[in-house]
Amino acid sequence: MTLDFGAILSQWPLLATGVANTLLLTALSAVVGGALGAACAWARAQGPLWLRYVAGTYVELIRNTPFIVQLFFIFFGLPMLGVKLSPEMASVLAMVVNLGAYATEIIRAGILATPRGQIEAAESLALNRFQIFTRVVLPPALRKVWPALTSQIVIVMLGSAVCGQISTEELSYAANLIQSRNFRAFEAYLVATAIYLALAIGVRRALNWIGPRFIFGRP
């Protein structure tokens, strides 16, 4: 048994493109999925009754089905309804919908921990319901659940490896392309796996840095 990593690393431009696209997919889905999660968390915690059921059903449907099935349903299934998406669009949509469901439950837990007095103080200051949620309830809630949210974003990034299966050109797709050229499958996937590990650690660090500075506004 001999391993040849040179054959893989010489294809570094493909890997670099894959890394860039994986990060792009992750960033897009983190921003949109996080916002979706915050909105659904509001709906589940404080929305009208019918909306609570809608949001609750969404969360349970997504959390109890595999990501790959969600992706295939969106990419292969939705065109039957006339919704034709590019692989990249389908990937982002699937990741957003997936992250949104988990983020809903995570953020909701933070919201439920808000002391009643915080809301009463905001009400006494004549803030409206939207202002109370976005300016008073949400920031401390996000701060509380940021580690969990960070983990979930990393999980979604790792899950995005499946998007290569519908030929989205992310990191796992690059590995697949390389191994189809030089038949060094094990080495190609080992290198890709190592890069994913580095990305997971890097993204977690980056989010820990970004959170207090830009999301919940307190070092």
Partner: protein
Amino acid sequence: MPVVEIKGLRKRFGQNEVLKGIDLSVEPGEVIAIIGKSGSGKSTLLRCVNGLEQFDEGTLAVDGKPLLHDDRAAMRALRQRVGMIFQSFNLFPHLTVGRNVMLAPELVKKIGQPAGAQRASMLLTRVGLGEKFDAWPDQLSGGQQQRVAIARALAMEPAVLLCDEITSALDPELVGEVLRVVESLAAEGMTLMMVTHEMNFARKVSDRLVFMHAGRIHEIGPPDELFAHPKTPELAQFISALNH
């Protein structure tokens, strides 16, 4: 015209009626201290005035405008005229002291950043915390936090300020600094309604004292008169219990 006018106010929690018909009107610049045993309904009465509690019967008006629970816009308009300070301070932990004060004027009154900051700084100076503008709430003592809460309420320029046992959560040595701020507000002509256990303070600062008992206003009048000549055995007993 009275700032606050309460007529026939009744409030039930389930089977338990905690306010059994309250009539009270508060004139501009008046300082009202509400005393009584716990469970007498005094905090509930105060919380009804800015709609944190919904009452079941009667009317309540601020500046002549009736309080309507179901009309959110009207509630917000009313709350701009009624400030509230809580026992547990309730500062927003994710905002600096200055931002705590600026938040509501900025969002509700659409006051711009520089003007808002300037006003906040002025109000913080007024409560003796001018240098704490950039501090975080959890870096302050309880007394300092409560003074920030006062500045935050004042920033909305309320017509009346409600104080709900604002020194009860404080260590004894920190009570004085908060009471001095309230006293200076009273001296400047602020309309105040306060629920308090600090009897000496109530006696010194208030224009009228309200003694609540079993969901009713049991006695009302100038503080010296009430303390010197209680008309009912309940108030006499309440006062004598204080002295022991």
